[in-house]
Amino acid sequence: MKKWFAFLALLCVALFLTACGDGGGTQGSQGPTAPGGELPSEEVLYEIADIAVDVVNPYLTATITLGNWPPDTAPAAELALFDGFRDIMRRQFPNVTVVPAFFSYTLTSYLPMALGGTAPNLFQPPFTDPQLLINQGLVADVTDALAEFGLLEKFSPAYVDLLGHDGRLFGLPRDGYVLGMHINVDLFREAGLVDEEGLPLIPTTLQEVAEKGRIIREETGAAGLVFPASETFGGWLFTNIAWNFGATGEHAMQYQDANGNWRANFTSPPMVEALYFMRALRWDYDILNADATTTDWAGSHNILGTGRAAMNFAANDAVAEPTAGRGLPVDSFALVPFPAGPVNAYALTGGTAFMFAPQTTHDQAIAILHFLEIIGVLPVITDDTVAAMRAGAISARDRGVPVLPPIPAWADEDFIAQQRAIANEFSNVDMRLFNDFFDSLVDGRVALRGEEPMFTQQMYRDLTAAIQRIITRENADVFTALQQAEDRFQEFLDDMVNR
């Protein structure tokens, strides 16, 4: 009897746990149903149907595995779009097999797959990682394939440096990003921080972020600012804050001394001031989310998207996260420039690349470039690529992603103009909530700046530890925290580059 009781108890728990799962398998077997059960937009299907399906090359033979393919649980419009693209690829290149891979790149997940030969042929790392992957021999050289497509002359010189080594290229840019600030407009409204037109009174300086964040905290109870201070994210965002406090030039956080050795410089007056600012956000203004030290990048979007914080330092390439990803309506969302500091007004710029797993052959690379052309991300303007770009914009609009002008990834004016025209045509947002961000990039209010040159991830990790100390211990000494972070990073530089 007791055994039966124990068995039943275990069975119940197992069933309970199964019921708690996301049910992905079942959902997938039912075909492309979106959350909420929407059907694929007819407009998406209409645009895709416009793309020519005549055979382009019957001799190209390859099997290509493509990362970042939308999973079965993705919205119907996105699934329909990618299924359509795969069908076009199959018709234009009948001997090319497209294998979807739901792999979404992170360095830690990619490394074992690349070393074991199981990484997808195409994956999408951020610009922080290509040089590391190239130096470690974990990506394929695709220079010849890019040359065949006439893409080499359309590369921005900056991207050649990021994606190349010794005159060879190992990837191509997908899109660029500029760090700004995501805004939950509803919380600004609730706090009364709106002008006569009902638009949010956006902070333009870091000091205003603190002050308006406090009002939001007092009026709504939500955090003024969500700050992801776990792993390396805190250091990443803090770098931009420190630049705007003046940690550039003679106060740069990394520099080469007269002997050519790399030095860490975290204890300069601007760095100290910037960390005092972080301290004030926590202990004087009390505007940070309570879980800052365990919040990561995805968590920060979750907190903003679900109305638990009003501001988040984030970029234009992540606008889908709090909106389509977490349910914040596009008309309750704004993207504004990164706030200026007392000295500078910099915004970190970077982007995402398309790169190729090390086992990728020339034919596979060619097939992948054909696929990228079909989906409209290569700087090639034909009726087909325009139709693909339009379908992409419609799909984004239907999913509730703000359709915005892109940050150009290619030095091709015609392609950029085409992208902007399509973004304008399918715009689903009140551009008054976004214009400031895009205008500031053109009118010089914000200067763009790339990441620090040496071992940035390790530097971010060490700076994150300093931030964590300051925001978790009220009496922690700011200078000591920075000194310890500087010592740790200097040890690292001495080990890795100053040998």
Partner: protein
């Protein structure tokens, strides 16, 4: 015997020896590039992060002995003394073990969240207390992680103790009861001596397991705040897979950890042997 040797060679000995070998080389991903002797070890010992990870790992071990070692014994004794529903309690104690480790940690990250939506903070708000910021407190984070690990693992260990307790001759208890011994005296003079050897073995196994703690702090705190919960294994993982890809130094950390554990095991064997000789 041959299949066994082949399996051990392929899955255990070769990777183990490769890791030791790798720790003496400069590496590019997993390729050995240049023999550097003890340089990786010297460099690792000089780093503050390693020193802190080493200290933290000993703190983990200390807390786990304080919390994690006694709880299973207590559980086994209580369940062993239970007259009704023993099967139910045995099953209930084991249940947390069937949860996947990562899922359990994600569950507890919500439980201990410092936001007002954290489960403990919700409960505390009923009595107008909190909100508490458990995982952001440098002096609380390791005990909390040990507590969570104990919650998950204590039931399985308790089952082993219960098996040990089942081997005790019930006549001893009956005789002791007739002589007027209460529950505490029975435990002290019969139960504890009977499970002493088992406890010693489980102790050393627990130290070995806790010394390799990794995914618990990785999920709950990522080693923070300010490296307060960084363990040796998490530090090793950071070196190998988190933006640096320094497999040589990561292997050095793994070898150092293994050597420390070897010392513990040797000490245990020595003490155990001496005790057997005395007996």
């Amino acid at each position: 015997m041959l299949p066994g040797i082949a399996l051990f060679t392929f899955f255990l000995w070769v990777p183990l020896l490769q890791s030791v070998r790798m720790s003496f080389y400069r590496t590019v991903n997993i390729e050995l590039v240049e023999f550097v002797g003890l340089q990786n070890y010297i460099s690792i010992f000089g780093r503050q992060e390693f020193q802190q990870a080493l200290r933290n790992t000993f703190v983990y071990t200390g807390w786990s002995l304080l919390i994690g070692f006694l709880v299973p014994i207590f559980l086994a004794l209580v369940i062993g003394e239970t007259l009704r529903g023993r099967g139910f309690f045995r099953t209930a104690a084991y249940l947390p073990n069937i949860l996947p480790g990562l899922a359990a940690m994600i569950l507890f990250s919500r439980f201990f969240s410092a936001e007002p939506t954290g489960v403990i903070n919700i409960i505390m708000s009923w009595i107008d207390r909190g909100p508490f910021t458990f995982l952001t407190e440098t002096n609380m984070v390791i005990p909390i992680i040990v507590l969570v690990s104990t919650w998950r693992g204590a039931g399985a260990t308790a089952l082993i103790y219960m098996a040990g307790l089942a081997g005790i001759n019930p006549e001893l208890y009956e005789a002791a009861t007739i002589d007027g011994a209460g529950i505490f005296r029975r435990i002290r003079h019969i139960t504890i001596p009977a499970i002493f050897n088992l406890g010693s073995t489980l102790l050393i196994l627990q130290i070995i397991a806790v010394f390799q703690i990794m995914y618990e702090p990785m999920v709950l705190t990522a080693g923070g705040p300010d490296n307060a919960s960084l363990s040796l294994m998490l530090y090793m993982w950071n070196l190998a897979f988190s933006g640096v890809m320094d497999m040589g130094r990561a292997s050095a950390v793994a070898v150092i950890t293994a050597l420390i554990l070897l010392c513990f095991t040797a000490l245990y064997s020595f003490v155990n042997k001496r005790r057997t000789e005395w007996e």
